[in-house]
């Protein structure tokens, strides 16, 4: 009903490599609220397998809130609500009877600031999520998983000789890659990155970006970013959010050169935000 007042999203598809791959996730008319604040308005988006989707937009546009609805983290905040459908491999994660805790085990998430657990070693941090899988009865070779996750996050060579040391001894950039390793150890099919390089220096940022680019070959990634160059470098498709609405979803190569919406153009050319 609210959707009639929302302007149609300018969308083109099939014009970036991999766009017609099957959808890993499909979001249908999703709304998110904090109390009476309507933070995300009627967003629908398709996330094809092995694609990096970037979400850009000014502060407060709802992009982080939207990301947090994709693994049911949004509802951990008091008064937060969601309506709509989010299909992960065809199954609605908001369907009645779905346990949000088990959804989060299948969708990895990395935050703006590194969140290494301070009382745990490097190995302990990477294995932190595995303990819940083991408690649920899965048989897991922890050492093998830890090593593989660290290799995938390009951290193995730097930490292999000090796995038992505190994770706080690592630099900020290394800690962030450790958090990515911790998420990857769960072997998620979808990884959500919420401004993962906002607190990092340029060299660490480049390493994380390279990593995201690599990961695309194995999994599906959604990255929220303030940095438009970053979106251009790592993503296949880009969504522009403004005031809780998705204004435009286009192949990344086009959104920065030939945006279809005037507001997108104003944002990507730096006229506001």
């Amino acid at each position: 009903m609210a959707s009639s007042s929302v302007p149609a999203v300018a969308e083109r598809s099939g014009t970036f490599p991999g766009a017609d791959a099957p959808a890993r996730m499909e979001v249908r008319s999703l709304d998110a609220y904090f109390g009476s604040v309507h933070a995300v308005k009627d967003v629908s988006i398709r996330l094809p397998e092995h694609t990096v989707t970037a979400i850009i937009g000014p502060s407060g546009c709802g992009k982080s809130t939207f990301l947090r609805t994709l693994n049911r983290m949004h509802e951990t905040v008091p008064t937060a609500r969601v309506s709509g459908e989010v299909l992960l491999d065809g199954r609605d994660i908001y369907a009645p009877g779905v346990d949000p805790v088990s959804v989060r085990r299948h969708v990895g998430m990395v935050f703006q600031r590194p969140t290494a657990f301070p009382t745990m070693s490097i190995r302990g941090n990477v294995a932190a999520g595995l303990s819940v899988l083991r408690a649920a009865g899965e048989k897991i070779d922890q050492n093998e998983r830890v090593e593989r996750a660290l290799q995938r996050s390009a951290l193995w060579e730097e930490v292999k000789d000090r796995l038992e040391e505190s994770a706080l001894g690592l630099s900020g950039g290394q800690q962030q890659r450790l958090c990515i390793a911790r998420a990857l150890a769960m072997e998620p099919q979808l990884l959500l990155l919420d401004e993962p390089t906002a607190s990092l220096d340029p060299i660490s940022t480049e390493k994380v970006e390279d990593l995201v680019h690599q990961l695309r070959q194995e999994i599906t990634v959604v990255i929220v970013t303030h940095n438009m160059q970053q979106a251009a470098r790592v993503s296949g498709q880009t969504a522009f959010f403004l005031h809780g609405e998705m204004i435009e979803l286009s192949p990344t190569t086009e959104i920065f050169t030939r945006p279809r919406d005037d507001r997108t153009e104003a944002y990507v050319t730096g006229r506001f935000g």
Binding site: N71, M73, T76, V101, S102, R104, R105, G108, M109, F111, R113, T115, F117, P118, T119, A128, G129, S131, V132, S166, L168, C179, R182, A183, M186
Partner: protein
């Protein structure tokens, strides 16, 4: 060039105020140092090996010790921890995790009120609840009174310590598929642990010297007793009895007991500082 010179008036006020602060700091520390000095002077001469190994001498006889009181104090403080720590820490975690719930607001207010409750009232409470139904004094009732005194302090320090754990850590754990319970137990508690232990030790140091709650609960005992069901000796009670007694030898014993009690409290406080320094900085960056 007068532009960079402080005015005479500002210089005068600054000097005066600095002096005032020094005086206030001295007024706060000097009495404490005098007490410690006097205690050391009087206590050290009365302190001997027998004090740590012997039972109190019968009235009128010289010598004896306070071995049973030292052991009794350890027993009472240990028993108080069994009562006070789980309840205090549990309530503190509840307050930190559910800060704005009506029950939490009420519990927090109650903890603050309890914190200011005169300790003798806590003694009466323990007497009423445990001594009266059992028809006799006991170590159990003493430990209960002291434990109840610990609860508000431990609750509030635990709440503070859990609260300073960054919420981003909690979110990271939830995003990995941790339940709230597991997040509290595996991530938040270990991170806050050093601070919680420090708070617990400070509370222990505080109750170790309490006398009033023990007067009509633990009651005191001139003989060995390790039973929680019988009256038990305690250093503060021993000090009270000896200091108000008629014999010089008792007064010397009271000094010695005071010194040992202060040393015990100091030791616990030092331990608290040590824990804070070693673990806490690691816990919360």
């Amino acid at each position: 060039m007068t532009a960079f010179r402080a005015s005479r008036r500002r210089w005068a006020i600054n000097t005066f105020m600095t002096g005032l602060m020094w005086a206030a700091a001295a007024a706060a520390t000097v009495p404490l140092l005098l007490i410690l000095f006097n205690l050391l002077k009087e206590g050290i001469t009365s302190l001997n090996w027998a004090f740590f190994t012997h039972l109190p001498a019968p009235p009128g006889q010289e010598g004896g010790g306070a071995a049973n009181a030292i052991v009794g104090t350890v027993l009472l403080v240990g028993g108080a921890s069994v009562f006070g720590l789980p309840i205090g820490i549990g309530a503190g975690i509840y307050l930190a995790e559910n800060g704005r719930a009506p029950l939490a607001v009420f519990v927090r207010f109650l903890a603050d009120v309890l914190n200011g409750l005169p300790s003798i009232v806590m003694g009466i409470f323990a007497w009423e609840v445990i001594v009266v139904p059992m028809h006799h004094f006991s170590a159990l009732s003493g430990a209960f009174a002291l434990g109840a005194m610990m609860i508000p302090t431990v609750t509030r320090t635990t709440e503070e310590m859990v609260r300073v754990v960054p919420s981003t850590l909690r979110e990271a754990a939830l995003a990995l598929g941790y339940t709230r319970w597991r997040t509290s137990l595996r991530i938040v508690l270990p991170t806050a642990m050093a601070g919680i232990i420090t708070g617990a030790l400070v509370a222990l140091a505080r109750i170790a010297g309490e006398t009033a709650p023990l007067l009509f609960t633990a009651f005191g005992n001139n003989f060995w007793s390790l039973s929680i069901n019988k009256p038990v000796a305690a250093l503060p009670l021993q000090i009270f009895n000896y200091a108000t007694g008629p014999y010089d030898d008792w007064h010397q014993q009271a000094w010695a007991a005071s010194l040992v009690l202060i040393a015990l409290v100091l030791l616990i406080s030092l331990l608290a500082r040590f824990v804070t320094r070693s673990g806490f900085s690691r816990g919360v960056e």
